[in-house]
Amino acid sequence: MDLTYTPEQQAFRAEVRAWLEAHVPAQPLEHYDATREGFEAHRQWEATLKQGDWGMVTWPKEYGGRGVDLIQWLIFEEEYYRAGAPGRVNQNGIFLLGPTLMEFGTHEQKARFLPPMASGEEIWAQAWSEPQAGSDLAGVRATAVRDGDEYVLNGHKIWSSRAVFADWAFGLFRAPGTERHHGMSLIFFPLNAPGVTVNAIKKINGHVGFAEIFLEDVRVPAFNRLGDEGQGWHICMATAGFERGLMLRSPARYQVAAARLAELWEANRDSADPALEADVVRAFMNAEAYALNIYQTASRLMAGAKIGPEASTNKIFWSEMDIHLTETALGILGPQAELTQEAPDAASYDWMDDYIFSLAGPIYAGSNEIQRNIIAERMLGLPRK
């Protein structure tokens, strides 16, 4: 075990830091879920990132990446959050679909889809959930019928993040007549294809953060199927592993939040409830523990291990840590916490928005109840129902 960075890793950090200092927009961008302008500003930022070859650093060069390892990816993420760079509007693409494509895609598919993903030219949404298939994802009903070199897609997807403004979606479809985990395929479709209707749904913060998608005889080339026909469930579980396990929530996000919380505490120490200091310390501990856990996982993966059901422990940990951290901030702010950003006395940072968002953490990416079932059954070996 060697918990120091190599000179190469330090040089990489310095390179990332210098580039971000020169390029991160001075003014924060409008949120990508708030308006089309906010979304497009973020797309522009993705293009800028790509110019520096920072679109997705772990991908091979030929697909628009830098071919760096997972430790360097963590360093990149640390610098990214430290610099206060804009949120990644294409996170569904680069962090979820990207790694899955890398594992299951053909060379042609990678060459077609990864470079525009890395540059933000094509922004992706995940179209898995359906009104009747949420936690029970194996219950999806949307269908894909093979017709020559094409698939014809029909169905109703929902809760698809960023689908309102995105360009493409990756969806879970089944061959008619198949049931449960069998007969599913993972298929890509453009959100502006004939037969696709996207209706925005407002989140509890008022942003059009997700959408429902209706598909009526939408035709896509068979090329858009990832992996074999009927292998969709298996591939989706791999994606879910990335989602819960490593990529979706890199530790730096929480370390920055914990540092910001510590500042808030120091500024309000004299007026706030002294008991809250323990929660401020806890927030720091949680963020550190999460970072150490992820560094350990990254080291293990680099040594040849595969990510397993322990990915579900990450999902629970970061979602609960986020709620605890933001709740602590609201406690420190006291009566000021309820003021919106428009109020004259508003705090300089919108902790309430972070708190409201944190409440979605135990729901999306597979609810925490489902994650606990997975841990109990697949890690601990307790019997299924």
Partner: protein, 343 residues
């Protein structure tokens, strides 16, 4: 950056696991409790022969010169069996302290002798009566005495295997050793408590998993019910996020700076919280069986409760973390930072 264990470390840990697994079973505890035997001599001899007591001693004192990380892995396995003998305290804390002050000391020459330590952090001394020697503390100075040179008063612990003593002594009857590094002793003590906590926690979960697979209610194993699953899954999450902290703390203890001390404190807090949470969940899952003396879960709860307050209270350790937070930079590039880099 390489946050993995090497083959040698894994091998040592496996050896210890096998040894403890074979020699420290519920049958052994029961026999020991009934007979009032403080120590299982056969097991202790096997531990000594395997070299586990020599791990942390420097080579010049006849030891193996390995690191706290190596020893932490052994301490974790000791926690898993709720080992009655004071391996962590004697070989992990007291022996290296003595070796730093008096490498030629006679007790060090006898690998089967345990060494007890009186530390300002702990009002009661563990296994003082059976020790080959007791390290004593006065005004920052260390002294050495044998049990018959001091006055011992037994203080009963809730944990049937923790033998605590109040030690009264006279400087005239002890050998002065000079100024000792009590801080390092505390760090080691806290670190190995944390490592034992990981083992205690995992054992509590494993016992409950085994029970939940067997025990039937409403016509099904209770482990198939979600409420039961979720108790144990939550405990497992706590373990998964304590373990890397303990390992990182063990790897960095030698740095001896603000960050290293805060990480040890972090490790101690979360590992013993995980142990307590797991033990409580395990008792709940066992139902009334879990509340009975017959079922072993209570041993793990009691050890966890004891270790939680031993080698520094939670408030003390939280204070060290707050000190790191408010005197050193924090943030995403500071996970592995050192005080000197930020000086």
């Amino acid at each position: 950056m390489d946050f993995t264990l090497n083959d040698e470390q894994r091998m040592f840990a496996e050896t210890a696991q096998t040894l403890f697994g074979d020699t420290c079973t519920p049958d052994h505890w029961r026999k020991q409790m009934e007979s009032g035997e403080a120590r299982d001599d056969a097991r202790w001899n096997a531990i000594v022969e395997t070299g586990l007591t020599l791990l942390l001693l420097p080579e010049e004192a006849g030891g193996l010169g390995l690191t706290e990380l190596d020893f932490a892995l052994i301490a974790e396995k000791a926690g898993y069996v709720a080992l009655p003998e004071p391996l962590a305290e004697s070989a992990g804390v007291a022996a290296p302290l003595l070796a730093a002050l008096a490498p030629d000391s006679e007790v060090l020459a006898d690998p089967s002798a345990t060494i007890a330590i009186q530390h300002p952090a702990n009002p009661y001394v563990l296994d003082a009566d059976l020790a080959g020697a007791i390290i004593l503390h006065k005004d920052g100075e260390a002294y050495l005495a044998t049990p018959d040179q001091v006055t011992l008063t037994r203080e009963e612990s809730i944990d049937p295997f923790r033998r605590l003593f109040k030690v009264e002594w006279d400087v005239a009857n002890a050998t002065p050793l000079g100024k000792a590094d009590w801080d390092l002793a505390l760090d080691r003590g806290a670190l190995f408590c944390a490592a034992q906590g990981l083992g205690l926690a995992q054992r509590a979960v494993d016992l409950a998993v085994a029970y939940a697979q067997e025990r039937q209610q409403f016509g099904k194993p209770i482990g198939s019910y979600q409420a039961v699953k979720h108790h144990l899954a939550s405990a497992q999450v706590a373990i998964e996020f304590a373990r890397p902290v303990v390992l990182a703390a063990a790897a960095d203890i030698g740095k001896r700076d603000v960050q290293a001390r805060a990480r040890i404190s972090h490790a101690k807090l979360v590992a013993l919280e995980a142990a307590e949470k797991a033990a409580k969940a395990s008792i709940q899952v066992h139902g009334a069986m879990g509340y009975s003396w017959e079922v072993d879960v209570h041993l793990f709860l009691k050890r966890a409760l004891a270790l939680k307050q031993y080698w520094g209270s939670p408030a003390f350790h939280r204070g060290r973390i707050a000190n790191r937070m408010f005197t050193q930079p924090t943030g995403p590039d500071q996970t592995f930072a050192r005080e000197t880099e930020n000086a």
